[in-house]
């Protein structure tokens, strides 16, 4: 999977590149709009992380040009929170998703993985682990003993953990993802455990073998759990 990172901040591009490479993604970098276009015309990518404020050509222009050229590569726009107009404009011009800076790695990975599944031609909407299947499209969860009814919050937590499989997700990251950035994650993360307890009970994971607790950090779903 090849990802093009476009941002005018070299340090951020470096850091994102390194973190994504650790997740086994191939990464290309561009520091301005024109460099991004050059790379996009020369190579094919599976995903573009596109900042809006860029030198030479801004994110909107880049998006307009590549969509005009018929390049259908999924685009995840990166920009500041609160610029609702930017969000709408980006999505109108053919961006596939939108992520506000600053963001967390679990959030970025979940967005990237969700995008890959959504746009892949033979994408499988089902995420699963240890006899548990979660359909990201129909929003159904099937356990060992049949369908499980989860609240929207519980579903959201499970989905997020599955997208971040084999990675520890902190309560803070979960709170941010589940409630969104308008809520204070410092307030909300204190009560993630309450939702986790209910979720574990529903999926028959009273022992904490499917969703493991990493003390002092958060939770993880991994295949080789104890």
């Amino acid at each position: 999977m090849r990802i093009l990172i476009v941002d005018d901040e070299p340090e951020l591009v470096e850091q994102l590149g390194r973190l994504l490479q650790e997740q086994k993604y191939d990464v290309e970098k561009a520091l301005d709009g024109e460099a991004a276009l050059d790379k996009l015309f020369d190579h094919s990518f599976d995903l573009i992380l596109l900042d809006i404020m860029l030198p030479k050509k801004d994110g909107f222009e880049v998006l307009k040009i590549i969509r005009g050229e018929g390049i259908r590569t999924p685009v995840l726009m990166l920009t500041a929170k609160g610029d609702v107009d930017d969000k709408i404009k980006g999505l109108d011009q053919g961006a596939d998703d939108y992520l506000a800076k600053p963001f967390s790695m679990p959030e970025l990975l979940a967005r990237i993985r969700a995008l890959f599944r959504r746009v892949a031609e033979h994408g499988d909407p089902v995420l699963g682990t240890k006899g548990l299947q979660l359909n990201t499209v129909t929003r159904e969860v099937i356990g060992a003993s049949g369908p499980i009814r989860l609240t929207p919050k519980e579903f959201s937590i499970l989905e997020f953990l599955l997208y971040n499989r084999d990675r520890v997700v902190s309560r803070f990251n979960l709170a941010e993802h589940v409630w969104g950035e308008d809520f204070d994650p410092f307030t909300m993360s204190n009560y993630i455990d309450v939702h986790l307890k209910n979720l574990r009970h529903k999926i028959g994971d009273g022992e904490g073998t499917i969703i493991r607790t990493i003390r002092g950090v958060g939770y993880i779903i991994d295949e080789d759990g104890r």
Binding site: L12, Q15, L16, L19, K101
Partner: protein, 465 residues
């Protein structure tokens, strides 16, 4: 005191003083003159009398005396010989005895009692008659000095003088009243454009900073005043915009650095290979970075709101919005053993920006939960009254000291720094609430009993919906 009253008072007051001075001068002049005329008349009369009297002084015949009495009938006359015996006196002397004063050349005024039924001389009700008296010394052909005391009633003169005083006094009163009326209306005309400029300047506030005072046609002082004020508003608007833009730019510039810090610290805390003690350090540092990040997000949110002008006009049910936000807090409220009482109508329709109002409710409820106590209470009420939609959120908890009730809506205000830091508060939540409320043209107030409870009350116009 208003300028209009001051101008009127000064003009009328000055006019009054000038009129009084003028009237007094006229009056004094007018009062002097009759005495001078009368005195010279008395002198002439005395000389005439003396001329006819002298030849017969020793032994006047009765015919001569009658003739004399005709001449002297209009005057009170008494002639004293050198040994102070009365040499001659006129008929009027029978009715009054006037005292003799030696006053040189000047005349003097005395009054005498003459009943009007005996001799009518225009006397007043008291039968008092004022006389102007002169005493003149004359020398006879034999070289003897005689004194002629001659007097005339002044009743007519007194009346005329009092008429004059009345006329001058009433003139003074009328002219002063006129002056007051005219100066008040003139002052009004002068002040009116100033009041108009003041009214227009008042209309320009934080929300209508682009408004200006229209400039008049004539390039007078008021034109200059309006121009100066407009110039001041220009600079004010510029400063306001710059300040808001600075906040927006600064928080925008902080986005990328905080993203980098956050990514680095969050990922570092997951490194199992790092020594335990070092990872604990990292986790604590990471918490600080997350707080900073939260602050940057809130600042940016506030700056976007500061620059926002008109909220969207969505039509929606406010009660449903409240219920959906409450749903997000439900686990939290239950876990903290907080008793929740909700009194909401089914819909409560209004027009406003749903996204902003949702954020407002989240901030308000976040505070109600964050600053509550275990086994505490939250009471939420909403309703409509005369085109105004209100929401009231009551919570038990630490409350706010009375002197701080106004400050809670200021940026970075925190009741207890340590406590809210523990909860991750940045002190911007209520500023955001206030900004959203005022964008909708509403009001927000806070009440509290420190140590017991706090209640926030939000009133919003229902809008067109």
């Amino acid at each position: 005191m208003k300028i209009r009253h001051k101008i009127a008072l000064w003009v009328a007051g000055t006019g009054f003083v000038i009129s009084v001075a003028f009237s007094l001068t006229v009056l004094l002049e007018m009062m002097e003159q009759p005495y001078e005329i009368l005195d010279s008349e008395l002198e002439t009369a005395a000389e005439t009398l003396w001329a006819s009297l002298e030849p017969y002084l020793r032994e006047p015949t009765p015919e001569q005396l009658r003739e004399l009495s005709i001449i002297s009938s209009r005057y009170w006359v008494r002639v004293h010989d050198p040994s102070s015996h009365i040499a001659y006196q006129s008929n009027l002397v029978e009715f009054a005895d006037l005292p003799l004063y030696e006053k040189g050349d000047d005349g003097y005024t005395v009054s005498a009692y003459i009943p009007r039924d005996r001799n009518y001389l225009h006397q007043g009700s008291q039968d008092e008659v004022a006389f102007r008296v002169r005493v003149l010394k004359v020398d006879s052909q034999k070289g003897e000095t005689y004194r002629i005391q001659i007097a005339k009633s002044m009743e007519g003169l007194e009346e005329e003088l009092s008429d004059l005083v009345v006329a001058l006094g009433s003139g003074l009163i009328i002219s002063t009243l006129l002056l007051v009326v005219i100066s008040y209306s003139v002052a009004g005309r002068i002040v009116k454009p100033i009041a108009e400029i003041n009214r227009l300047a008042k209309e320009i506030n934080e929300k209508t900073l682009e408004k200006r005072i229209p400039l008049g046609k004539s390039h007078d002082e008021l034109y200059a005043l309006s121009a100066s004020l407009n110039h001041m508003f220009d600079r004010l608007q510029e400063a306001f915009t710059m300040q808001k833009q600075f906040l927006a730019d600064a928080s925008h510039e902080l986005k990328s650095p905080t993203t980098m810090l956050r990514l680095f610290f969050e990922e570092s805390t997951l490194r199992q290979e790092l020594p335990e003690s070092f990872r604990d350090q990292l986790i604590r540092q990471c918490d600080i970075v997350l707080r900073m990040e939260r602050l940057v997000k809130k600042l940016l949110e506030l700056s976007v709101l500061e620059l926002a002008e008109h909220p969207k006009s969505d039509e929606f049910c406010l009660a449903e919005l409240v219920r959906s936000v409450l749903e997000d807090f439900s686990a939290l409220v239950a876990a903290a053993d907080i008793q929740l009482e909700v009194a909401l109508p089914p819909c409560l329709p209004m027009t406003g920006d749903v996204e902003y109002l949702r954020r407002m409710l989240i901030n308000v409820l976040d505070n109600a939960v964050k600053y509550n106590v275990t086994n505490g209470e939250i009471r939420i009420e909403a309703g409509e009254e005369g085109g105004i939609v209100y929401i009231s959120v009551f919570n038990t908890g630490i409350g706010i000291p009375g002197e701080d009730l106004q400050k809670v809506f200021q940026r970075f205000y925190r009741v207890e720094k340590s406590r809210s830091y523990q909860y991750g508060g940045a002190g911007l939540g209520l500023s955001i609430v206030k900004k959203i409320v005022s964008l909708h043209g509403g009001t927000v107030t806070m009440e509290s009993l420190p140590g017991a409870w706090a209640r926030i009350y939000i009133a919003l116009p229902k809008g067109d919906g």
